[in-house]
């Protein structure tokens, strides 16, 4: 995290507090005792005074280990290469793509590299796995580490063979001495060594045009573990003597406990009941028993009035609030909107809304906690192991060193697993029980007590000249967020503001944050303006765009879609949406079939063109771009959290519809590979275009202007 807070580089918001002041600071001897000798290379984070007392020893390696390490790599005498990174795998396939990054620069087989990820004891501090930062940041860091490790190995071999390093070649996990036929594996070179090296110099990395491992698809690492069911997600873990936990939930948000009678529950053997403030939980030897025990508790709650969904948007407008920091307000102004409007041939004023939606990862939140000698270890599927370590430290008034958080590769997160209430809950129960406790949230808990993608209200006022050029652009976003709020279109008279509001529901990050809402409003508005000026939506965008990368994906998508050439069938419409965020450029075209007699809307076909710089893992990238379309369809068409009086009304998959097989359109992904540009993250921004593309296609098919996400939760009204 480098402190950039401009709207274009906005990191995730809301649930992020300042990071724990934790620095990896191993003693060198201890370190090698743990890892068993060999060669270690550390990535020292930029901007830190890397190692104030460190002196380069005569061997060229640093003595005291550096502080503020971003990642490190170890090569053992057994040829095992182990990489330590605080990033977490939750389906975005970074275990594979980061392994490729190391393999590329180290010149070692993918299969010889093991990643240790997201373990607060073993891996260096990492802010979290979010914001599409893994590929641009961690990927680059690991490439540097691997590149330096290759140098170290080459120099070691040169010393052994008493030759110059420049004549040696690193290849396939070996250093070769071509003229002599001599060769040593990396493990052979590491044998007997205890070398620690820090990356300081800006080592040149292999340019994308010369990549041999990166830029190609490799099989998913640990793939066989997943397809055989052997991989253990957090809910699958168990420990000897483990109890199963359950938490008593309030009947509505904001309710406080006034009395608790746990006498019946406490009579049962092997049962633990914890009542600590507003926290009430139980633990029992089996999950069914825990459920029964929970039902025996007699609790009285005092409820407080809560805002319901029907009054939400008026509430936002009357409850703006000043906030500092990442989720604070934004005011971007240039020129004069008023004079721009007065110059306009046509004006358009419109209001858009987006609903709260749930992440609904298929693996519900879960945690397994174990205390030993005053130290606690928690396994949980979080995107922020170090953040959760901090949560636990606060909850239990413990120093961080006494807390270890381990993240098993996780069953989906989508921005929804930044906090870990369940970790604190499991740890509280385990401390009382003096035994390990596992807590797996029910689907209803997941739908109720996690946090939501923010709802929002967006007001847009614009003006357009006779020749289809924007003359004014005013964009006021209430609550949903500033991500992707600045328009990529060329308009000098602009006023763009984000107004933070009080939120009745707990809200937080969701894949691509508010960029989805902001693109929905902006791209819907652009289509309506195109209609006002009687221009084709593609032509209208081209007239107002100068951004070449955005124009390029727009061209790529519309060409593959056949925007200008394909004839529409009756009842079908075409729509598009485009934008840029988090270093990714996306254009999405959709074909929709809409039947006004029965209200049915079906997305038939989607073409999405995406540019994220140099592509590191094409197949994984395609999977992410596909997945973003499917996930985005849900929020576009029908997903919405319904709530009244502090209760979630549709907290189940029977009532909250997510996309299924029958919702699937034909999807074509067009990747624009830019080998001369740095790689950006790609898990998020491809989601932005689908909602406006579908909205605009419905408009094209039916003439109906829709202004809310979801667009057609109950079908298209006649």
């Amino acid at each position: 995290m480098n402190g950039e807070t401009g709207p274009q580089t906005e990191p995730e918001r809301y649930e992020l507090d300042s990071p724990p002041a934790y620095h990896f600071e191993p003693d060198r001897r201890d370190f090698f005792r743990i890892v068993g000798g060999g060669i270690a290379v550390f990535l020292v984070l930029r901007g830190e005074s890397a190692y104030p007392q460190a002196r380069e020893s005569t061997s060229g390696f640093f003595e005291p280990l550096p502080k503020n390490v971003g990642a490190w790599l170890h090569i053992g005498a057994d040829d095992q290469i182990t990489v330590y990174t605080g990033k977490a795998e939750m389906g975005q396939n970074i275990r594979t793509s980061l392994t490729q990054a190391v393999a590329e620069e180290l010149r070692a087989p993918v299969g010889s590299i093991r990643l240790v990820m997201a373990d607060t004891e073993l891996t260096p501090f990492d802010m979290g796995t979010f914001g599409s930062r893994t590929t641009p940041q961690m990927g680059t860091q690991l490439r540097k580490v691997a590149s330096v490790a290759r140098d170290v190995l080459t120099r070691l071999a040169a010393q052994r063979w008493n030759t110059d390093a420049s004549v040696l070649v690193a290849e396939n996990g070996r250093i070769n001495y071509p003229n002599t036929g001599r060769t040593l594996t990396y493990g052979e070179l590491a044998r007997g060594e205890t070398l620690a090296k820090a990356v300081v110099e800006e080592d040149p990395l292999t340019p994308a045009s010369n990549w041999t491992v990166l830029g190609k698809s490799v099989p998913k690492i640990y793939g066989p573990e997943f397809v055989t069911g052997r991989h253990k997600y957090t809910p699958d873990l168990s420990l000897p003597g483990m109890l199963f936990g359950k938490v008593l939930r309030a009947p509505s948000f904001g309710a406080t406990l006034t009395s608790l009678d746990a006498s019946e529950a406490k009579k049962l053997p092997d049962v633990v009941v914890v009542h600590d403030g507003d926290f009430v939980g139980v633990a029992a030897p089996s999950e069914p028993e825990a459920v029964r025990v929970l039902a025996l508790l007699k609790a009285q709650w005092k409820t407080v009035p809560q805002i319901s969904d029907s009054e939400l948007f008026a509430y936002f407008k009357s409850h703006t609030e000043e906030r500092e920091g990442w989720d604070g307000g934004l005011n971007h102004e240039s020129g004069s909107v008023e004079s721009g409007l007065s110059l306009a041939e046509r004006q358009l004023h419109q209001t858009y809304t987006v609903a709260y939606i749930a992440h609904a990862p298929l693996e519900p939140r879960a945690a397994l906690a174990r205390w030993k000698d005053g130290n606690v270890t928690v396994w949980t599927g979080t995107q922020r192991p170090f953040g959760v370590q901090g949560e636990l430290a606060q909850a239990f008034h413990l120093p961080l060193q006494r807390i270890r958080v381990i993240v098993p590769d996780t069953g989906g997160a989508f921005g929804g697993k930044h906090t870990s209430r369940e970790a604190v809950e499991a740890a509280r129960l385990a401390r009382a029980a003096n035994r390990p406790v596992k807590l797996v949230w029910t689907r209803e808990e997941e739908f109720t007590w996690a946090y939501f993608r923010p709802a929002g209200l967006i007001e847009v006022s614009s003006g357009v000249s006779k020749d289809g050029k924007l003359t004014a652009w005013a964009f006021e976003n209430y609550n949903s967020g500033p991500s992707g709020i600045l328009t990529p279109y060329d308009v000098s008279n602009r006023r763009i503001r984000f107004h933070p509001c009080k939120s009745p529901l707990l809200q937080g990050s969701y894949r691509c944050l508010a960029a989805t809402a902001n693109h929905f409003a902006r791209e819907s508005h652009m289509d309506d303006l195109a209609r006002l000026t009687r221009l084709d939506p593609l032509e209208f965008r081209r007239r107002n765009l100068k951004n070449e990368r955005l124009l390029a994906v727009l061209d790529a998508a519309t060409k593959a879609f056949g925007w200008e050439k394909t004839e529409k069938r009756p009842g079908h419409g075409f729509g598009l949406g485009c934008g840029t965020e988090k270093g990714g450029y996306v254009a999405t075209c959709a074909e929709v079939a809409a039947d006004r007699t029965n209200g049915r809307v079906k997305v038939m076909r989607v073409v999405v063109a995406f540019d994220c710089g140099a592509i590191v893992d094409p197949d994984g990238l395609r999977n992410q771009v596909y997945g973003a379309q499917m996930m985005g369809l849900g929020g576009a068409l029908f997903e919405a959290i319904k709530f009244a009086d502090g209760r979630i009304l549709n907290g189940a998959f029977t009532a909250y519809r997510v996309p299924r097989f029958s919702d699937m359109p034909e999807i074509q992904v067009v990747l624009v590979d830019r080998k001369n540009l740095p790689s950006a993250g790609a898990g998020e921004s491809p989601i932005m275009g689908i909602a406006p593309a579908v909205r605009n296609a419905i408009l094209d098919a039916t003439g109906v202007h829709l202004y809310s996400m979801p667009l057609v939760p109950n079908g298209l009204k006649a």
Partner: protein, 156 residues
């Protein structure tokens, strides 16, 4: 009520001790350690907990264990035989038809029943049969491709 004391799982008789109303999923996971079958929703809506009961796909999260007693229960753990992946498992890998992988067990188990009924299914048949299985990562296209690939693997 008398407890259920035995199940036939993956061709083996296994001793258990469960209240008859306990879900089959809970018994498989917590008593028999067969955690390949996943908990996703507990309301038979997501398919992550799918097992075969006498060859038919069933949602184990809502099935009382008493109804599974005396029947042949098949879970994902039995699909790999002698170190060889089942054609569906291989096809899911070949098509990279998984991202987080949490739905994968249920998808493969459900698809195995589909392929027994329809050895060479059309896209429409796959969509209809798999509709009850949720994938949140959005790998639906690849799952369909993987089922077609497995169908070809089995036929050859």
């Amino acid at each position: 009520m008398t407890s259920v004391t035995e199940l036939e799982v993956n061709g083996e008789r296994r001793k258990i001790d469960a209240d008859p109303q306990t879900s089959l999923l809970t018994v498989l996971r917590d008593q028999l350690g067969l955690t390949g079958t996943k908990f996703g929703c507990g309301e038979a809506e997501c398919g992550a907990c799918t097992v075969l009961l006498n060859g038919q796909p069933q949602r184990s999260c809502i099935m009382p264990v008493s109804l599974a007693a005396g029947k042949q229960i098949t879970t994902i753990e039995s699909f790999e035989k002698d170190g060889h992946l089942h054609p569906l498992q291989q096809a899911f890998l070949d098509e990279q038809a998984l991202q987080c992988g949490y739905c994968t067990s249920g998808m493969i188990v459900t698809a195995s029943a589909l392929l027994r009924h329809h050895p060479d299914p059309t896209d429409e048949e796959i969509i209809r049969y798999m509709e009850g299985n949720i994938c949140r990562c959005g790998t639906h296209h690849r799952i369909i491709a993987a089922i077609h690939r497995a169908s070809r693997l089995i036929a050859s």
